[in-house]
Amino acid sequence: MAEDVILSVKNISKSFGDLQVLKEISFDIHKGEKIAILGPSGSGKSTILRCINQLETYDDGEIDYMGKPVNSGQALYELRQHIGMVFQRFNVFTHMSVLQNVIEAPVHVKKVPKQEAIAKAKELLKMVGLEGREGAMAKNLSGGQQQRVAIARAMAMNPEVILFDEPTSALDPELVGEVLSVIRKVAAEGVSMVIVTHEMNFAREVADRILFMEDGVIVEDAPPEEFFEHPKNDRIRQFIRKVEER
């Protein structure tokens, strides 16, 4: 297994003031693997996700990409080119069109020829169901559409891993489905994924592995069947029941 490890999270710890939000978190992400991180609010799920591409600093520990530690400077910019991220609040570039959002990083960061980037962007926009909307301003789209643009934008860099930070939590309920079905398609492309989510059924369906976090610690790391059918402890059983009741 060890040779197909893409990313290693090693003993990451972080505190906000007196509150320790991450306590020596460690896990590996393998090629093609889909990991869902579940847990109550404030358990540190989003924080650990943001530490992986270092949008969030950490006090201790190490992130390894392809076996090499990544700290800062050039290596960090390169790491980020290989790790896509989809945010809760979409974060599309509002001064740009849909197409410009998707080609921005390939053209200016990766220096892909513009025509090539446009061709690839059109393919991706077709995949996320936004064919024909290339020229629309991103800010004029619905939340679900903006999130699909953001997914295409992340995919355009050909990442090894995509991090999803509660990708449907800011959406109106009727728009959740369209975004989840796009994430399913992305999963089918074979890219590795780490998803922080509250969508239990979705996590169960898409993930190969569930990490359950509580108070800054990973308390369970199991395949979905085991996680949902044979919860390790009462706390997890309670959590599953509570979230499913919503």
Binding site: H95, A154, M157
Partner: protein, 216 residues
């Protein structure tokens, strides 16, 4: 019996219009240099390197906290004591730019801070280094936000240039003063000067209004 001699003003209209041109020249140069300085100061002020941020903060504190006229006196009359002699025009543009830069820094900074932090994170997450994030994501959006306050700053600059008449720079106010000195009539030339300033500032206020409506 009060007699006003308006012919004084009309006979010297070409001098007054020349004064307007000089005033506009100083104002435009000040806007250009002040904006460059303002952008640099704004970026320094938000630098993660504490010393750099402190230097910018100190600069803004001093230049906004002392009168423009004293700054102009120091540069035009004071610097020659240190062996640096500047023409009135150079000293005038320099003191206006150094002063205005401090104000524009705050305009630029508030423009940058108005940009959605989420979009900046998205840029970082895509592997954009700082300069690309600023150039491609922050600058286009912040420029839009800054344009209106910049036009207002420019209008203030046009009026502030009158202070430079005190360092013998022959701009609009000084042209009026020269007419007054030669004729012992003060009312007419200064009314003419005031009207000309009003015309200049009105033009740019109108432009600001158009921009505001366009961007709303």
């Amino acid at each position: 019996m009060v007699t006003l001699k308006w012919s004084l003003v009309f006979d010297k209209m070409s001098s007054l219009l020349h004064g307007c041109a000089v005033t506009m020249e100083i104002s435009v140069l000040t806007l250009i240099f002040g904006t460059i300085l303002g952008v640099v100061l704004a970026l320094m002020r938000d630098s993660r390197i504490k010393v750099v941020a402190k230097i910018a903060q100190l600069y803004i504190w001093i230049w906004r906290g002392t009168p423009l006229m004293v700054q102009a006196f120091l540069i035009y009359f004071g610097l020659p004591n240190l062996g640096v002699t500047l023409s009135a025009m150079t000293a005038g543009v320099l003191s206006m730019s150094l002063n205005t830069g401090a104000y524009i820094a705050e305009i630029v900074r508030s423009g940058i801070h108005a940009i959605d932090p989420g979009q900046r994170e998205a840029a970082k997450a895509l592997g954009m280094p700082w300069h690309l994030e600023m150039l491609r994501i922050v600058a286009p959006q912040a420029t839009k936000i800054c344009i209106l306050p910049l036009v207002n700053q420019f209008i203030a600059t046009i009026k502030n240039t009158s202070i430079l008449s005190a360092i013998t720079l022959t701009e609009l106010t000084r042209e009026g003063t020269l007419i007054a000195y030669n004729s012992f009539h003060y009312f007419e030339p200064y009314i003419a000067v005031a009207v000309l300033y009003l015309i200049l500032t009105t033009i740019f206020t109108q432009i600001a209004g158009i921009l505001e409506r366009r961007m709303a």
